[in-house]
């Protein structure tokens, strides 16, 4: 979601890590709340490593024709480079497709059990 504060728009994503911790990402900066140390609450922050590569479209394409048998990501989810995205079964092989980029899954263009052609775009990241 986007939050506007004094004309500045922040891209915010909130997710629950477990029962006690919440992860909030604000413009690619990651905050984790809820890790209790004694009476104090520790807030840890890290930067997610999302490279700015605006020159290339972040599309994951089928390296070979086949059938999508399993999809491991959901729209809106952040993925890392080399993260397992889906399984593409070609007639003779099962191919675990991993991401060439880090980014947020903008669009999943295929469904499980769908046949795809070589070079067909499967997933778009932002």
């Amino acid at each position: 979601m986007k939050i506007k504060i004094k004309d500045k728009v922040y891209d915010v994503e909130i997710s629950e890590l477990d029962k006690e911790r919440v992860k909030i990402i604000v413009n690619e900066k990651e905050f984790i709340f809820g890790e209790k140390i004694g009476k104090q609450e520790k807030i840890s922050t890290t930067y997610t490593t999302i490279p700015k590569r605006s020159f290339a479209k972040k599309e994951i394409k089928a390296p070979i024709g086949g059938k999508i048998t399993e999809i491991f990501v959901r729209e809106g989810e952040f993925v890392k480079r080399d993260q397992k995205i889906l399984i593409l079964s070609s007639m003779k092989m099962e191919n675990e497709i991993i991401s060439d980029f880090a980014g947020k899954v903008k669009e999943i263009l295929v469904k499980e059990n769908q046949n795809v052609k070589e070079e067909e775009t499967l997933i778009v990241l932002t």
Binding site: K57, K61, I64, L88, K92, N95, E96, I97, S99
Partner: protein, 184 residues
């Protein structure tokens, strides 16, 4: 020719899984993982592969290759397995494409290649890892009821035991030869 390193295990969940794990841990190509039995052997789409003691179950860490070559090699693996059976035992195997070998209308071997591929924008896909698993029903006496009409073994067909080690090395050498021809 590159030597293959054979690693023998008594029991594995799956030789393909072990091979993947070892390949990610940088075990060299042509490392061969052999298990006397598998507790979770699987074929394409996760279908179970009956893997009791007596059968030949192995996975090979393949050298870095183009995805198209891996596809060709997988088809060739079925031919090599069939050829090994035919030449050693004078049986008439039948190749059920894409990757099974049958004898007398029943399945005797299956092949599953698994790759980890990173499609790159504009370039050739980067194949990070490839393993090929082969399950061959060699010295299996009997199949469970639900499989006995669809699966067979060399022992059932021949009425005698066969040498798993010899068959293994023939198939590996055959694959090496083929990969040399297709990837150069």
């Amino acid at each position: 020719m590159l030597k293959s390193k054979i690693r023998n295990f008594k029991t594995l969940f799956s030789t393909n899984q072990k091979a993947k794990e070892l390949a990610l841990g940088l075990s060299p190509s042509w490392t061969v993982i052999v298990a006397e039995k598998q507790t979770g052997g699987y074929g394409r789409k996760g279908a179970a592969w009956f893997s009791p003691g007596g059968g030949l179950y192995f996975s090979i860490i393949l050298p870095k290759s183009q995805i198209e070559d891996l596809q060709t090699l997988t088809i060739l693996a079925a031919f090599i397995t069939a050829k090994t059976i035919k030449e050693n035992f004078n049986l008439e195997p039948f190749i059920k494409l894409p990757n099974d070998v049958w004898i007398n209308g029943k399945k005797i071997a299956g092949i599953l290649t698994e790759n980890i591929v990173r499609p790159t924008s504009g370039g050739h896909p980067d194949v990070k890892l490839s393993i090929m698993g082969i399950g061959l029903n060699t010295n299996i006496d009997k199949f469970p009821k639900e499989l006995e009409n669809i699966a067979t073994s060399l022992k059932i067909e021949l009425g005698r035991e066969v040498d798993n080690k010899k068959i293994l090395s023939q198939i590996i050498e055959g694959l090496k030869e083929q990969l040399k021809t297709i990837s150069q």
